[in-house]
Amino acid sequence: MPSFEFDIGEQARIGSRFIAHVRDEIQRALFSEKSARKITQQQIAEELGTSRAVINRQIMGLENMTLRRVAEILWAIGWEPHFEVRRIPVGENQHPAPQLITPALSIKATASTTNGTVSIVQNNLRAVAR
């Protein structure tokens, strides 16, 4: 049986799945609160000074939400967002971040054989051995 890998591209996938993840988390929080106590979208809307229709569209993922609105909806039901970022592990990104470039050390050494002195200069620090 054939299989088909459905791939919309990494950039689109990362962006859209993040938006979907935020929506999912809000829905999970709201469902948890609804299970624990009576809370309605109308109450959330009144708390935030907007209409139930707007809140419904935002919770359902039918309308783009600002970061502020994400936090406000969660606040209205007694939750808060938790957000952190991390570097993608090596090998898990189609477009790896460029390696950090460490400036090469500048080493300059001079040696004198006429008077038995060795002088080494490294990054403007001088060491002299006799």
Binding site: M1, P2, S3, F4, E5, F6, D7, I8, E10, A12, R13, G15, S16, R17, I19, A20, D24, Q27, R28, L30, F31, K34, S35, R57, M60, G61, L62, E63, N64, P89, E92
Partner: protein, 161 residues
């Protein structure tokens, strides 16, 4: 013995999974679904709801949700997956309707993809296709399929999903 994974016209759909994500459910596609996936959905624009995700991204999202085993409904107020009459099922996004059925628990068969706006009335304009017609198309496709019985699973939502 003709089962879903050994008849030639089905295609198993896979998607890119993130870290700590695993295939908890399976999705098989029939030819009409594959045609819609390849040729129709990429050209679709967001519909009247003006959703933040494009239809193609919505398709990735709903397949992702299904395959990694995320909840498909929360109580009565949110249903991304709805059972319809005659054991047909519908996966929903803002702009897409994926019509099909549940072959065995946690195995969805996608028959074809519809555009949500085509199932809604626009003022005096009737819907392009009714939900009943879509459901009947699913039944017709399923009946024609050379598949051993039972061709679909029956049971309550939580046991099948």
């Amino acid at each position: 013995m003709a089962t879903l994974d050994n008849i030639p016209i089905t295609t198993k759909i896979t998607i890119s999974l993130g870290r700590r994500e695993f295939e908890e459910r399976q999705f098989y596609a029939l030819p009409a679904f594959m045609n819609d996936l390849r040729n129709v959905v990429p050209a679709l624009q967001t519909g009247r709801l003006d959703a933040p995700l494009s239809p193609l991204e919505q398709l990735d999202d709903i397949l992702h949700r299904w395959i990694i085993g995320k909840p498909m409904r929360y109580g009565r107020w949110l249903n991304d997956l709805s059972p319809q009459d005659s054991e047909t099922w519908e996966l929903k996004t803002a702009d897409l309707r994926i019509f099909g059925w549940i072959y065995r628990p946690k195995i969805f068969v996608g028959a074809f993809i519809g555009y949500t706006d085509h199932y809604k009335r626009h003022g005096n304009q009737p819907a392009v296709e009714s939900y009943d017609a879509a459901r009947n198309r699913v039944i017709e496709i399923r009946n024609r399929l050379d598949l051993d019985e039972p061709k679909f699973a029956t049971g309550v939502f939580d046991a099948l999903v």
